[in-house]
Symmetry: C3
Subunit: 344 residues, 3 copies
C-alpha cells in the first residue's frame, strides 16, 4: 500500500491546475490520482478509531464510513446535478467490488495457492443480502419505466427506507446476535498502530482533502466528456469506482496473497452490499431533503450488469473455494462489461 502514497503528490498539482483554471482535464486526472491514497487513509484511520471504541461501536463505524470517500464524491456529483453519474457510480461500485476486486484477489491469490477456502456460511449471508439489495434496485426501474412518472420519488423513498432498515438489521445480526458467523472480520482489528489523536487528525485531514479533490473531480467531468469523448456513464461506472475503492482493492488482494480469502471476500462483497443497502438509499434521502432529488430507476444496462455480477459472484462463492480460473472468470466478466459501457 505504501507506493500509493506517491499519489499524494498529486494533491498540490491538482490544486495548482484548478486555481490556474487552464486545464480542467489535468485537474480531473490529478484529482483522481490523489483520491486513491486519501480514501485509503480515511479507511485506515476509521479502522484505527474503531479498535479504540470497541467491537460494537467500532463495527458500526466501519460499516458506516467504510465507503465515505465514495459517498463524498457522489454527493458533489449530486449537487452538480450529475444524477446519472451518481447512479452509474453506484452500479460501478457494486460490479467493481464483486468482479474486479474479488476477481483480482482470487486470480493473484490463486497463483500462489492452488485452492483457497473460505467460510461458506458467511459467503452465503453476504450473497443473500446482495440479492435483496439487487431486488430493491431492480423493482423501481421495472415498475416505473421512466423518471417522469410521478410515483418515481415516493417509490424510491419507500424502497430506500426498507433497504436501510435491512442494513441496520444486518448490523444487529453481524455485530450482536450472530457475531460468531462473521468471526474472520475481527482478524483485521488486532492492536492499533496509531494513537487515538493521530488517527483522528489523519481522518480529519484526509476527509478535508477528499472533499476538495472531489469538487475538482466533479467539475472536471463535463470538460473530460466534451474533450476526450468518454461518456458520463463510463466515468461513473468505471473510473469513479476504481478511484474510490483503490485502497480497499489493495487490501483485498493483500489478504488473498496471505491466503486469508475470507477477508478478501468480506471486503469485496461486504462493500458492494454496503453501497447497495446503505449508500444508495442514503443518497436518495439526502437528495430528497437537499432539493437535488435522485430516484432508484437505473437504466437497463445498469440493471443487467448488477444482476449478472451478483449471480456470477453468488455461484462462484457458493462452494467456499476459489482458484485462479475463477478469478479470471470474474475479471473477464468485468472486462466484457467495461467494453460494453465504452460502446454505449
Amino acid at each position: 500500500m505504501k507506493f500509493l502514497n506517491l499519489f499524494l503528490l498529486a494533491i498540490p498539482v491538482s490544486i495548482f491546475f484548478h486555481l490556474a483554471d487552464s486545464s480542467p482535464i489535468l485537474a480531473f486526472l490529478t484529482a483522481c490520482l490523489s483520491i486513491i491514497p486519501l480514501s485509503g487513509y480515511m479507511g485506515k484511520a476509521t479502522e484505527e478509531i474503531a479498535i479504540y471504541v470497541g467491537p460494537s461501536i467500532g463495527g458500526l463505524l466501519n460499516a458506516t464510513f467504510g465507503n465515505a470517500a465514495e459517498l463524498i464524491i457522489t454527493l458533489f456529483a449530486l449537487k452538480s446535478g450529475l444524477v446519472e453519474v451518481v447512479k452509474a457510480s453506484i452500479t460501478g461500485s457494486i460490479i467493481g467490488n464483486l468482479l474486479l476486486v474479488l476477481g483480482l484477489s482470487m486470480l493473484l491469490g490463486g497463483f500462489k495457492f492452488k485452492t483457497q477456502k473460505f467460510n461458506r456460511a458467511a459467503a452465503g449471508m453476504h450473497t443473500s443480502m446482495l440479492l435483496l439489495a439487487v431486488t430493491g434496485l431492480i423493482i423501481p426501474a421495472v415498475f416505473l419505466n421512466n423518471h417522469s412518472n410521478p410515483a418515481a420519488e415516493p417509490l424510491s423513498l419507500g424502497v430506500a427506507a426498507v433497504l436501510i432498515l435491512i442494513y441496520l438489521l444486518s448490523l444487529l445480526f453481524s455485530l450482536h446476535t450472530h457475531k460468531d458467523v462473521f468471526r474472520p472480520s475481527q482478524e483485521h482489528s488486532g492492536t492499533p498502530q496509531w494513537t487515538r489523536l493521530k488517527a483522528l487528525l489523519i481522518l480529519l485531514a484526509a476527509t478535508i482533502f477528499v472533499v476538495i479533490e472531489s469538487e475538482f473531480l466533479v467539475s472536471g467531468i463535463e470538460p473530460v466528456v466534451n474533450t476526450l469523448g468518454i461518456s458520463e456513464l463510463f466515468i461513473g461506472v468505471i473510473i469513479i469506482p476504481i478511484i474510490g475503492n483503490a485502497a480497499e482493492h489493495t487490501t483485498s488482494v493483500m489478504m488473498a496473497l496471505k491466503n486469508k480469502m475470507e477477508i478478501s471476500l468480506e471486503i469485496a462483497i461486504g462493500s458492494s452490499t454496503q453501497i447497495a443497502l446503505f449508500v444508495a438509499p442514503l443518497l436518495v434521502f439526502i437528495g430528497y431533503l437537499s432539493g437535488h432529488p435522485i430516484d432508484l430507476l437505473f437504466t437497463s444496462y445498469e440493471l443487467v450488469v448488477i444482476i449478472l455480477g451478483t449471480v456470477i459472484t453468488a455461484i462462484i462463492s457458493m462452494d467456499g473455494r476459489s482458484n485462479w480460473l475463477e478469478g479470471a472468470q470474474l475479471l473477464a466478466s468485468y472486462v466484457i462489461m467495461a467494453i460494453a459501457f465504452l460502446f454505449v
Copy 2:
C-alpha cells in the same frame, strides 16, 4: 389457529351486506375475513380425510385440494371476466408463499432458535421444481408480446399440459419412487383428530361457504377498485393470496416455532409449486373449456417478482439453514414488491 375462528362471524355479516345490496365494499371486506378460517377448515378436513385413505391416495388428495379455496376464488374471478385478477393472484400466491409465509416463519422461528436446520435435498427438489414452473410462466410472455397474438391460446395450452404432466410426475416421485426424500411431510399426518364423517361434513360445509363468499368477494372487486382507488392488480397480487393462504401461513409459522422448519419450507415452497404447476395450468384448461379463455402471458411486473422471489428463496434455502435475518430479508423483498404494486 383458534382465534381465526372468530372470523367465522363474518359469514352472516357478509351475507347480510350482500343481500341488503347497500354496501358492496363491506360485503367484500367481510367476505375476505370469512374466507380465512373457511380455507383453513377445508385444508384441515382434507388432511384428516387423507389420513383415513392412506398415504398414497391421501398424498394425492392433499396435493390436489391443498389450494382448493384459492382455486374457487379464481374460478369465480375467471367467470366474471377478471382475467388479470386471476393471473395477478397466481403471481401473488407464488411470491406470498415464498417471501411472506417463509419469511415470517424464518423470522419468528429465528427469534426462538439461533439457527434452524432443514433437509437440503428436499429444499433443492422444491427449488428446481419451482424454477421449471417459472420457466413455464416466463416463456409464453417473452415469446408472444401481447394477448391478441393468435398463438397465445395454443401456446398456453401446450405449456399448461407440460406443467401438469410434470406435476403428476412429481407426485409419482414424492409419493412412490422417492418417498423417503420427503419423509418429514409424514410427520403432520399422525392419527386423525376427527371422525371420517365429521371430516367429510366439515369439508362439505366449508366448501359451500367458500363458494358463496368467493362470489361476494369477486363481485365486490369492481366497487372496491372504483371507490377506494386500489388497483385490480394490487387486489389480485396482495389481498386475495393473503386471504386464501392465511390458514396455511399460520400452520407454517407454528411449525417454525416448534423448530420444524422442514415442514414450514414444504408448506411454503410446496404451495407455490402447486399453484404454478397445477392451479395455473388447470385454470388455463378450465378457461378454455368453459369459454372464458385465459392465457399464461403474465405482465413484466409479474414476471420480475416471480423470478426474483424464486431466486432469493433458492439462494436462502440452498444451505439448509435459516436464521431471523434471512426471514427479514424475505419479508423485506415482499414489502418492496408490495409497495411497487401499490404505485403501478
Copy 3:
C-alpha cells in the same frame, strides 16, 4: 451407437436427390440423417487420435474439434448469409446440450439407479464457466438494441476475444494446473481401439462427407421454410443442434446408464461451454475476416432460453446428485421452449 450406422445409407440417397435437383426437401432430410453418424465418427476418430498424442495435446484436440461437425454446418450457413440460422443454432446447441442431452441422461440413468452422484467441484466449475459465457452473449444484445448500430461489430469482436481468451485459460486450467479436478474425463480415454492410420483416415473421410452434407442441408433450408412452413429460427434452434449433437447425446446417455453421470455431465455442460466460449467467438472472427460479418446480438427469445437453461442446470447440478425427476424437469423445460419456438 451401432444402429446409427444405418443412417450412413442416407449419404448416397442425399447425393442422388441433390444431383437430381428435383426435391431439395428430401435432400435436406437425408442430409440431416447422414450427418448424425458422420459427426459421431468425427468425434470418435478425434478421441482416438487424442489418445495417441498424449493427454495434453489430446485434450486440446478434443476441446478444439469436439464440435467440429456443428462448426462446419454453421460455416456453410454463414457463407449462405443465413446469419440468424447460425445464431439460432448456437442458442439451440447450448440449450440442447443442457436440457435435452443432460435431461435424457438423468431421466434414463435415473430409471436404472435411484440416485446418481457426481463430483460437485467439476460441476461447479462448468457452471461458472457457462455463466461467464452467458454474460458474454447477453451483454452485447442488451447494450446495443439493434444490428444496425455501428458499434455491433467492434463490441462483438471485443467480447469474442475475451471469451476465447478465457476458453484458452480454462484449457490451461483443466489440462495443466488443476487437471486432478477433472479426473473423470480421463476415464473415456483408456487404450485406443483403432490404429493411428485408421483413425486419421476415418476422420478425413467423415469430415469430407460432413462438408458435402452440410452444403446440401444448408441449401435445403430455404425450400423447407417455404414449403413446410417451419421457421428458420426453429430449424436453427431445434433441428440443426439435434443432428449435430446426436452422437454425443448417445454417448452421454450410455454413460448415464453405466452410472458414470460425471462423464454425462461433462459431455453435456462441457459441450455447451465449448459452443459459447469457442465456437461462437470463432464464428465472429471467421465472419469478420471472410466478409460475412456476424455479431453477437441474440434475440430476446434466445437470451431468455439461454439464461433459463443455464440457471436450471446450475441449480439441478449444484448438489452433486441426480434422479429421474430432475431429468424429466430438464426435458420439460426443453419441450416448453421448443413449443414456444414453433409458435414464434
